[in-house]
């Protein structure tokens, strides 16, 4: 997790050279969303627009990344809290602009952070169908209903980058298995309501 460093605020002042407020806004969003490893290429793209050296661009991009992520980490939703982060001699207008941009984006960024949190593989979709088994090699005539459940599972987003792997798993359940499963799910629901009502 990014922590704010002293050099960061000096680097942020480079934003004063940005062509427009929207350019700053755009850069903030890109810096937040980018993982630390991808900051290098991002800096290279930002270079020409800001008319700075490669090294300065890297420092800026890194500083913006740290600032935005720090604000999201701490869950800062009030202007005063964000303004406090900046040192005393920081450029006033730039400070206000950055604070404004952060406030505008903080809840979207928070959702983004939660969505890309590490987790076990996630369920993304679920389909089912009920079949009736009428015959098999062990018994010529029967009428046994059975359920086929297809779960679409997405691997951990952090591991897959931009190409999440979704696998489909088809599972067969007999009526007895389904009843037992529903019993378990019911117990989960009861415990969830108990927790919610506390």
């Amino acid at each position: 997790m990014a922590a704010l460093r002293d050099g960061d605020f000096a680097a942020l002042q480079i934003l004063l050279k940005a062509p427009s407020k929207d350019a700053v806004r755009q850069l903030c969003q890109e810096c937040f969303s980018s993982p630390a490893a991808a900051l290098g290429p991002l800096a290279q793209r930002a270079c020409p627009g800001l008319a700075v050296s490669a090294q300065e661009a890297e420092q800026l991009v890194s500083a913006l990344h740290n600032l935005t992520r720090h604000a999201v980490y701490r869950g800062l939703t009030r202007a005063e809290d964000i303004l406090c982060l900046f040192p005393e001699n920081f450029h006033q207008n730039l400070k206000n602009l950055l604070t404004k941009i952060i406030l505008e984006n903080i809840s979207a960024w928070r959702n983004e952070a939660q969505a890309s949190q590490i987790s076990l593989p996630r369920l993304v979709d679920m389909d089912w169908r009920v079949d009736i088994k009428t015959s098999s090699d062990s018994i010529a005539r029967m009428a046994v209903p059975t359920c086929l459940l297809q779960l679409k599972i997405q691997e951990d987003a952090a591991l897959c980058g931009n190409n999440p792997v979704v696998s489909a798993l088809t599972v067969e359940l007999s009526k007895e298995t389904l009843d037992t499963m529903l019993e378990g799910l019911g117990r989960i629901r009861d415990q969830l309501s108990a927790v919610a009502n506390k």
Binding site: L120, V130, S136, I153, L169
Partner: protein
């Protein structure tokens, strides 16, 4: 021999000889043997026990074990075929008579068949092919307190571990669900249950 109910294939020649030998047994002996057979049919995994009981029967009734095993093999042809073809007890009785068993013994066996067939049918259905059968489900749910990106989170997560039989191996599948997904999943499973119940 007329058309048999339990099979369309020709019956091995030894069978009529075996039926003749069976007819020599007293009613009590036949009843004891039938009991051993049905106990095996309803618990097919207990092979050791079955062989021991057969050997005890052979000793007690002064019959050689070898011929006894052949007789048992012949008898078992009928219930195995009857199970596959959902035969009634009358059909089983008729088949034994056609094979050469006495009416009295054929009726007795058919009666035992009637008594045991629900259990045997259930066993056969249980052996029917299932694709990726769900064996077990374990779950836990909790609250995410914080993460490297968010100091305070406070969201609920649910984790399921599904144990699935793939061929002869068991495989564990881990899945995480959000709360809305869980409620949706529960709702869908209840719909499945209603559907399965309407077909039972």
């Amino acid at each position: 021999m007329g058309l048999l109910n339990f099979t369309r294939d020709p019956v091995p020649e030894a069978v009529s000889g075996d039926m003749h030998n069976l007819n020599q047994l007293s009613a009590q002996q036949f009843s004891a043997l039938t009991e051993v057979l049905f106990r095996f049919l309803t618990e097919p995994k207990e092979v050791e026990r079955f062989l021991t009981q057969l050997s005890d029967f052979a000793t007690m009734n002064k019959i050689s074990l070898g011929p006894l095993k052949n007789i048992v093999k012949s008898i078992l042809l009928v219930p195995n075929g009857a199970l596959k073809r959902n035969l009634s007890s009358e059909q089983v009785r008729a088949d034994f008579i056609a094979l050469g068993l006495s009416e009295e013994k054929a009726s007795y066996f058919a009666e035992q068949w009637k008594v045991n067939s629900p259990t045997l049918t259930r066993l056969a259905v249980g052996q029917t092919l299932m694709i990726n059968q769900l064996i077990d489900m374990e779950w836990k749910f909790g609250v995410t307190a914080g993460s490297s990106e968010l100091e305070k989170v406070g969201s609920i997560f649910l984790q399921l571990k599904l144990v699935i039989k793939k061929g002869s191996q068991l495989e564990n599948v881990y899945v995480e669900l959000t709360l809305p997904q869980f409620y949706s999943f529960l709702h869908e499973m209840e719909r499945v249950k209603t559907s399965l119940e309407s077909f039972s």
